[in-house]
Symmetry: C2
Subunit: 405 residues, 2 copies
Amino acid sequence: MYQVLNGMRVIECASFIAAPSCSLHLSQMGAQVIRIDPIGGGPDAGRWPLAPSGSSLYWEGLNKGKQSVAIDFASPEGRELVAQLVCAPGENGGLFVTNFPADGFLSHQRLAQRRLDLITTRVMGWADGTPAVDYTVNAAVGVPYMTGPEDDPAPVNHVLPAWDLLAGAYSAFALLAAERYRRQTGKGQEVRVPLSDMAIASLGHLGQIAEVQGGDRPKMGNTLFGAFGRDFTTADGQRLMVVAISPRQWSGLVKVLGLEDAVARVEAATGVSFDKDEGLRFTHRDALTPLVEAAIATRQRNELGAAFDASGVCWGPYRTLREGMAEEPRLVSGNGLFSAVTHPSGLTYPTPGAAGTLMQSERINATRAPVLGEHTDQILAEVLGLSTGQIGKLHDAGRVAGPKE
Amino acid sequence: MYQVLNGMRVIECASFIAAPSCSLHLSQMGAQVIRIDPIGGGPDAGRWPLAPSGSSLYWEGLNKGKQSVAIDFASPEGRELVAQLVCAPGENGGLFVTNFPADGFLSHQRLAQRRLDLITTRVMGWADGTPAVDYTVNAAVGVPYMTGPEDDPAPVNHVLPAWDLLAGAYSAFALLAAERYRRQTGKGQEVRVPLSDMAIASLGHLGQIAEVQGGDRPKMGNTLFGAFGRDFTTADGQRLMVVAISPRQWSGLVKVLGLEDAVARVEAATGVSFDKDEGLRFTHRDALTPLVEAAIATRQRNELGAAFDASGVCWGPYRTLREGMAEEPRLVSGNGLFSAVTHPSGLTYPTPGAAGTLMQSERINATRAPVLGEHTDQILAEVLGLSTGQIGKLHDAGRVAGPKE
């Protein structure tokens, strides 16, 4: 955590990954984030992975460091409280993150009647409001048909919710852009980030919309598109990802593997040079890959890795997450991003702060996730100025809830 | 494109995806982005996919709307010009995006001697400066061993450079957070976003660092982890991704497929209810999946899709990118994000603006990518105040270059 966004107050009514990760990023830079859930929890309250106690590690991960308020969303009084929190005054407030439907009780138009300069950041499925999730969006834009073994025509889903994560980070960026504009002009607005637009715009940015005019990109297993790169296995059975995009990476690879003569013979036979044009290494991969494969198959992984490092080759071992955490201290055990935090699940585990490091600012350890409703009374008093008596009546009427006893 | 960041000036010395996409996002919200490349182009100048003319569609996609300056990075005079551009005065300047080494001539410490409040946003491989790319980072954090068919133990790379894209969007967020802080305090700083930290922090946010205390998550093909979801094939051979996380999605799926009785029998046999707990649908997927599979196999895709939509089921067809663009107008042909732009490759194709939509602002069409060096003279005059004679001398000495004739 850092303190660069200290003072900023963000209200979140959201669930799952994209919108909650947007406000998580804001929180980890110092913003106060108040997550409002329905009493009993939102649709992501029990999302896997779970702790042995049954509580959601996913929820803990995406909502750590936030404050939690539980309100009865179904009642007019509850909805009124939500709207009051979203639209509470203060030049650093009026920032709302949600994935609720655009035309429902949390519509921007309706909320902005209470606070003209409100900024709503809304993650959506499709831009027209049709539901979609990461996995259906990914299927829609063709990535599963480009993924996986080339001898199997079946689509392969990615397991990483990449579009969710990307939409979350992008939404945090867009919120700050809109907030900067508000400070210059006084104007609020609604920023919509549909997962479908996030995905198709990204493929466009990568040149793939233009590329597809010439046909779909086929599956090619673990081969890197457009340069030299693939997985290889060492003599001791270790699998490595090896990538040679830059001239230095390629020349280092050839040198370490002693392939100068063999590669020169391929160059002579094909009439091209692989030194500077990474695309030619891709075009001629059927000639080059077996050379690299055979050479790596004769080497021990540790010796080879050291030689690769010394020659600027870009490579890395494949590991499972557990192996990576055990064997690569730069990931978790020796990484200043992480600190051991005890969460409401009862588990203590390495918990990441902000992914970015501010070199001239002090990094503060990540803090635990809240218990659902833990801050209900505090926020109603602090932000809405309600008295203890008023808050008690809301509890009695079932409009708000604190943490379960 | 939007104009909310108008006036902001960002200097980019970077290549490939992450850092260039950071400044692309800033540009598409209105910032002036000046990309400085070495004369002849950076290491990504020829990155695939390519146009028939041989120019890089990837470069065009990631650098559209930017201004291009070409400078001899190898000479002291060229490096001096780069530093002057990075550190040029102006309260909306002093914003630098790079993936150059942290301790080289573009080190923050060195540059900040010229401009104390400089903000450097630096994308890295590993945080210690070791090179890494998306594909090696992905191998390091275990995602390929969770991806792909469960009967094949080999790791499956994702083809989407997810960590690059995520680091790019996150860097744009972090830059704006630092810039907001600078306007409050006058302080600049360096923000470092290593791909490795982006990846492992993200897995932490998703609960997977905690989960792995209980063991690695195994491959499970296209099955959604922790809820009900998978690919299914209709009677007419169409493949669909179907997801039921929320109670409504599940009840809609059961109803549309007429599986009430069959699911009730599974519930009776197992003693659980699938209505509200999506995790139980995952635990008992071996009983549930064949029911859904058999039911979908009897239905035609169009009829089934309409019934799913009417009942709130979350689903989507698998398509290749080309099919998606042809058959789903919400992706490109009917999507206001895209406009036809003619780029330096000579190709005209649908080009996306900002992935986010600002509902109360006018969206301006995306603009073409620059030709390398197209804005060299203009920027040297405008930003550094050089005279025509001074600029001519730099050309004559080979320190700067304009576009190729």
